[in-house]
Symmetry: C2
Subunit: 387 residues, 2 copies
């Protein structure tokens, strides 16, 4: 039986960006303290967390210090080093969730896809790429275009290159520069995601959200998604199968394609709270961040019901080059009923950098389409540029 004390349990988090910050915000009401490790002094999570250890994500000394101060370790970035985490967990006795082995599986997209396919998770046809011939073979088998992907280090669409014809194979492979894989291009109706949680002997999932990307970066998430019930059910089944493959407790962001034929195919997995789950803070009975804290500590999971139609929109850096972050004209957001502002506390804005988000939790009678329209207006009304 869980007993609350003061101070409460401490979560040690590798990474102190916006995910660490929102995790600390969600942990506080539960009496759970957060210490983050991040190389940037006074990182986004620092003002909200109990403390920050300033060290690189793979700095073993820093992570040992983090483990010594924490009851459980977790990470909010895939850049965490699985070997270091494994070693520290073993030596310190402080558990790490999700399991570092999961990080390893996910880190290499080819390994990830193979593990998932083996477990019966539906994935687009794919193959390893050793040379340009493999890409040409893929075009023969799947039809053009195909999607060439860097096996490691991709993020927000970086490292993904569509290949339109066999003639482009060599150039595409050079642009990826490193181990690669190739996938059939999915003709999708919409992109959706499931925020799923693996707890201590139980699992949970939030209702599916529909994701709108532009330049391969998430712009908006809409809940409920426009999918029909059968697709939602199938997406939740797939998420359940994905959790079976994942080792260790925590929240997983599972990005899926809903094909034009109504099939559900896996796109990518993040072994942590995910941008497409920020809507849960206001839109669901509990947030993905509270669930992650509960799961990592081995506490019971919370309810995941949708409270009302909800839309979240990212506030991205609309600048040509890096500069001090000053978001102008925020009044429209502050004045809009039921618009919830989340500012990530980053000092510098960069082109397309995620600087914050706005969630609108619908009030009676408001439809997702109306919310989306309002969210887009709000996003367009603010700017980081001086003019």
């Amino acid at each position: 039986m869980t007993t609350l004390r003061t101070p409460g349990p401490t979560l040690g988090v590798v990474g102190g960006g916006q995910l660490g910050r929102m995790l600390a915000e969600a942990a506080a009401p539960l009496g759970v303290e957060v210490v983050v490790l991040d190389p940037t002094p006074d990182c986004p999570a620092a003002p909200v967390a109990r403390d920050q250890i300033v060290a690189d994500f793979d700095d073993e000394t820093g992570i040992r210090e983090l483990a010594a101060r924490a009851d459980a370790l977790t990470f909010e970035i895939e850049l965490a080093d699985q070997d270091v985490l494994e070693r520290v967990a073993e030596d310190s006795g402080t558990p790490v969730h999700p399991d570092p082995a999961t990080l390893e599986t996910i880190h290499d997209k080819l390994v990830q896809k193979r593990a998932l396919e083996e477990a019966g998770v539906p994935v687009p046809p794919f193959r390893a790429v050793e040379d340009a011939d493999d890409i040409r073979d893929a075009i023969d088998d799947y039809g053009a275009p195909v999607m060439l992907k860097a096996r490691t280090g991709g993020y927000d669409g970086r490292g993904n290159v569509p290949v339109e014809s066999k003639a482009d194979a060599v150039e595409a492979l050079e642009s990826v520069a490193g181990p690669a894989m190739v996938e059939s291009f999915v003709d999708f109706e919409r992109e959706i995601s499931v925020i799923a949680v693996k707890g201590d002997g139980e699992t949970a999932a939030f209702p599916i959200g529909e994701n709108v990307h532009e330049d391969e970066i998430l712009r908006e998430t809409i809940v409920p998604a426009g999918s029909d019930e059968a697709v939602e059910r199938r997406a939740l089944e797939v998420a359940e199968d994905v959790l079976e493959v994942m080792d260790g407790r925590g929240v997983y962001g599972i990005e899926l394609f809903e094909t034009t034929g109504g099939e559900v195919l896996l796109n990518e997995i993040a072994p942590r709270p995910h941008n497409s789950g920020h809507w849960t803070i206001e839109g669901a009975q509990s947030s993905q961040f509270e669930q992650h804290a509960r799961a990592v500590l081995g506490w019971p999971l919370a309810a995941t019901d949708l409270r009302s139609p909800t839309v979240s929109v990212n506030l991205l850096g609309d600048v040509a080059e890096s500069r001090d972050a000053e978001l102008r004209n925020v009044d429209r957001i502050l004045e809009t009923p039921a618009a919830n502002l989340h500012w990530y506390g980053k000092r510098q804005v960069r082109p397309l950098r995620k600087m914050g988000h706005v969630t609108i939790a619908g009030r009676e009678g408001e439809t997702p389409d109306e919310l989306l329209e309002t969210a887009r207006e709000l996003e367009r009304s603010v700017t980081f540029t001086s003019e």
Copy 2:
């Protein structure tokens, strides 16, 4: 127009108890930083706030340091010293909200009642008490019993003494020990409260809540209250009139009696977020804490709509004497769908001390009565005692 930067504006808060803690939790998503001043090292707000200044609530040096670090000052306890705050605000140029003059008006219940009566706010009949004869006169005029109240320093019903007959007047007056006033005893149908906000040229109010007290300490708040529409409307009118009397921006907790005749009478005012408004965190489109941060900074106020029927229940110290705080059997709370735990981070539990609260935000089809029953079960299922 408001511009967001990093670091964002800083609120300096006199007091770092649970109200300061929840204020810091609500301020973080807005990019607003909180520094608290509190004499207890590592006070409840400390782990969540940017920083704590360890100093007494009326320590002028400490408050000057707080003002120097803050863009605006506020307080979460009535123990704040109005003279010191006024002096520091004037010298530092850092504004204080609400105005310290409001603190002075509220601090003395007789002064408070006179100011409110003058402004047309309905209050129970009352008079100043110089000696026991004034109490006897009140019994003649209002009928027995009457309520004798200490003019200053009362809190959670401390300093309130019902006087059943003229023969008890002397003893009652001695027990109050200090300047006193006497009020007609109100035959109330229920106690209700309005959490009202005074912003920059605008006001807002949350839907009324029904409050259940026991031993003069708040146990539960239920929203919507059982009052009929006319009473709710009248309560919101009264709250609007109260805000007229109050000087300076911020949240005010306005406790009211709904009489058996359907009248609304003012009971007490807190110039700060109030225990009976904790339900707003999950139950309303914005929380009283977010509203307080917005109001003090002069930002636009947020929407106050009720999201779904909501009940909050306090977790009070169920111990006979002070000891290290260990709340046992928390699993029932963690496992209950839509139950939200708030742990205040106090190291010591004392008899009836407020240690945390649980809010249940109703899901579709759940009635306030069902939520209240669940909330009471949860409250009974946890304990600070060892057995």
